[in-house]
């Protein structure tokens, strides 16, 4: 009976919140906030700026292709195009896990999109910009590996979470691919 009440109250709360969202005035989006996606790489908490990515997809099938780097997991069909999928944990320096293909993919770049595969996606987090700090010495925060891709940390109620700079990651990938990609003439 208690569980039934809990479910019913939960449903009523959802219904009320949903109805309330249409009943109240739309809130003004403050310019002093930052939208973050919270993820976990090999169990370490990280965050990604929402404005750095082009989209988020889940459950796409990755087709492995021969590659010279271990970061490239394969190719996936996303939004009508073939997008290379890279392992974010591998890029950050974590050992590759043998638990199958990551379910989440973070779509980056508009013209030549690439996808960063993430195994654990926690959710959306909106924090004030004041809670973001530029990390001069990311190693000192001990927020995980890949400190070269972390330029900020976000202080949340759940603790300090490193903010991965997607442009740095993408630039790194493009640099690696640009140096090693064979020319079309070749």
């Amino acid at each position: 009976m208690n569980e039934t009440h809990v479910v019913e109250s939960k449903a009523a709360e959802l219904r009320r919140a949903f109805d309330l969202s249409f009943a109240l005035l739309p809130p003004q989006v403050s310019q002093e906030v930052e939208d973050l996606l919270t993820i976990r790489v090999a169990g370490d908490p990280y965050a990604i700026r929402l404005r750095d990515i082009a989209g988020l997809v889940a459950g796409r099938r990755v087709v492995p292709v021969p590659a010279v780097t271990l970061d490239l997991l394969g190719l996936a069909g996303i939004r009508g195009g073939v997008v290379p999928v890279f392992s974010l944990s591998s890029i950050l320096g974590y050992a590759e896990q043998a638990s199958g293909s990551p379910r989440w993919m973070i779509l980056c770049g508009a013209e030549e999109p690439i996808a960063l595969a993430v195994s654990d996606f926690e959710g959306h987090l909106r924090v004030p910009k004041s809670s973001l700090h530029i990390e001069e010495n990311p190693r000192a925060t001990r927020v995980g590996r890949g400190s070269q891709y972390v330029n900020q940390v976000a202080s949340t109620d759940a603790g300090v979470r490193a903010v991965i700079s997607i442009p740095l990651v993408v630039a790194t990938i493009r640099n690696r691919s640009g140096h090693r990609r064979p020319s079309k003439e070749q």
């Binding site: 569980e3 809990v6 479910v7 939960k10 449903a11 709360e13 959802l14 919140a17 949903f18 969202s21 739309p26 809130p27 989006v29 939208d35 996606l37 929402l50 404005r51 990515i53 082009a54 989209g55 988020l56 997809v57 889940a58 959710g123 959306h124």
Partner: protein, 490 residues
């Protein structure tokens, strides 16, 4: 053989021998006395009478002679009558003598007397005849002297010879009677001496034999009396101990009787309780049977619950599936909202309102996702509870089965209890009856033991009396021993 004779036989034999010898002596004495008396009687009746009759013959001869002389002298008839009377007497006497004569000499002498008498009477008749003839007296005297006197002297001699023979026979008879009496006296004296010696010998033999045997017997009696005294002592001690034991036995039997009564009462109570137990067991059996039926109902209800729980599990699993869809939808909604937010950010100012909506949708999706997680948790809890309930219910079913079996066993146990209690009741009644019989028997035993105790006391008294008697017997045997064999105790 004589050794095996009893004292009475031996003494009787001794007295019988003495009596036989005395009887022999008496017989011999009586025979001798009778012989002597007969001899004397014969002497007195025969020989003396013959001698008297012989003297009477002398007298009658003298009388005849005197009558003949008187007639010759006086010629008177009365003298002839005297002569004839004397002759008749003489003849009668001679006739008696001849009748009693038993010897040849006597008979011969009597024949000589008769012959002489005949001759004398013939001579005398002739003289008398001569006198009657008026013959001269002188002739008559001469005839008388010449013819009668010799005849008379011959007759006198014959009568004297017969008298002498009778006198001799009388003397011989007297002497024979005297000798007979002497012989009888000698025999009687000899036999008396022999009887005396024999009696003394028998007395000595009997005395020695009886003394030896009586002494031995007395010694045996003495030792036996000593043993009897010891036995009487032991018997008296044993009787005292037995009396004490009998008292203890009586006390024990009384306790046993009380215990038997208690056992009988206990058995009666046991029988009563067993009957109540049987009733309770029957009631319990009925109750168990009802409980078994109720357990059957419970088992069916539990099976229904299990089925319902399994259905509930399936339903919750279906809910889980639906929830997965909802969760997936929420996730997709979240992704869409996030992507909408990204797109709205790229749309500039016009995208801000869309960004708001997208944010709301994302929040809603987040809440839906959180709610689905909670609901999943609840469903997992429900499924776990269902599984737990099913397992518990299955355990309950097994427990119910086990309970049913146990109830069946309990029912069987109750039936066995009823049967056993029935047996117990019968046994308790038998115990009660047996104990009552035992009590009766114990009472009888008590009475018997009381009698035995009384007999034991009497035995004790008798043992004391026996002891006293044995002591007296010992003293008496000692006295008897001193009487029989003085030298033995001297």
């Amino acid at each position: 053989m004589a050794r095996s004779w009893t004292f009475g036989k031996k003494i009787a034999a001794g007295f019988a021998a003495a009596a036989l010898l005395s009887l022999l002596i008496g017989v011999i004495g009586v025979y001798g006395l009778m012989t002597v008396v007969a001899s004397k009687d014969r002497v007195l009746e025969v020989e003396a009478q013959n001698l008297v009759d012989a003297e009477k013959l002398h007298g009658t001869v003298e009388g005849r002679s005197a009558g003949a002389r008187g007639y010759l002298l006086l010629r008177e008839e009365r003298f002839l009558e005297q002569n004839e009377s004397a002759l008749a007497t003489f003849t009668a006497t001679l006739t008696r003598l001849k009748m009693r004569a038993y010897t040849d000499d006597g008979k011969h002498l009597l024949d000589l007397v008769e012959r002489g008498d005949t001759e004398y009477q013939a001579a005398l008749g002739r003289v008398i005849t001569l006198r009657k003839t008026d013959a001269a007296l002188d002739a008559v005297v001469r005839a008388f002297e010449s013819d009668v006197l010799p005849k008379r002297e011959a007759l006198d001699q014959a009568v004297s010879a017969y008298a002498a023979l009778d006198q001799r026979l009388l003397d011989e008879g007297k002497k024979a009677a005297t000798d007979q009496a002497s012989l009888v006296t000698t025999v009687v004296v000899s036999l008396s001496l022999a009887v005396l010696l024999l009696s003394v010998g028998i007395a000595v033999v009997l005395t020695r034999t009886l003394s030896r045997q009586i002494g031995s017997a007395v010694q045996h009696v003495q030792s036996s009396s000593s043993e009897l005294q010891a036995s009487a002592n032991q018997q008296a001690t044993g009787a005292k101990e037995q009396a004490t034991a009998m008292n203890e036995i009586t006390t024990t039997i009384r306790e046993l009787l009380a215990t038997s009564k208690q056992i009988a009462e206990g058995a009666q109570r046991v029988a009563h309780i067993a009957e109540e137990t049987a009733t309770a067991a029957r009631s319990g059996e009925q109750t168990v049977s009802k409980a078994n039926d109720a357990i059957g109902g419970i088992k069916r209800q539990v099976e229904l619950i299990v089925n319902h729980m399994l259905d509930l599990g399936k339903k919750s699993q279906q809910i889980g599936g639906i929830l997965e869809i909802i969760n997936e939808l929420a996730e997709q909604t979240n992704i869409l909202a996030i992507n909408a937010t990204i797109e709205a950010a790229g749309a500039g100012e016009s995208g801000k309102r869309f960004a708001v909506v997208a944010d709301e949708i994302r929040k809603l999706a987040d809440r839906v996702g959180g709610s689905t997680k909670e609901i999943r948790g609840l469903i997992d809890e429900v499924r776990a509870a269902v599984n737990t309930t099913v397992m518990t219910t299955e355990g309950g079913t097994k427990a119910v089965d086990a309970g049913a079996r146990q109830f069946s066993d309990v029912a069987t146990g109750f039936r066995q209890i009823v049967s056993l209690v029935s047996t117990t009741t019968e046994a308790a009644r038998e115990i009660e009856l047996s104990t009552k019989q035992q009590s009766t028997a114990v009472e009888q035993v008590n009475v018997a033991v009381a009698n035995v105790a009384q007999a034991t006391r009497e035995t004790e008294a008798s043992s004391s009396q026996t002891l006293q008697t044995a002591s007296e017997l010992t003293n008496l045997s000692g006295d008897l021993m001193r009487l029989v064999q003085p030298q033995a105790n001297a």
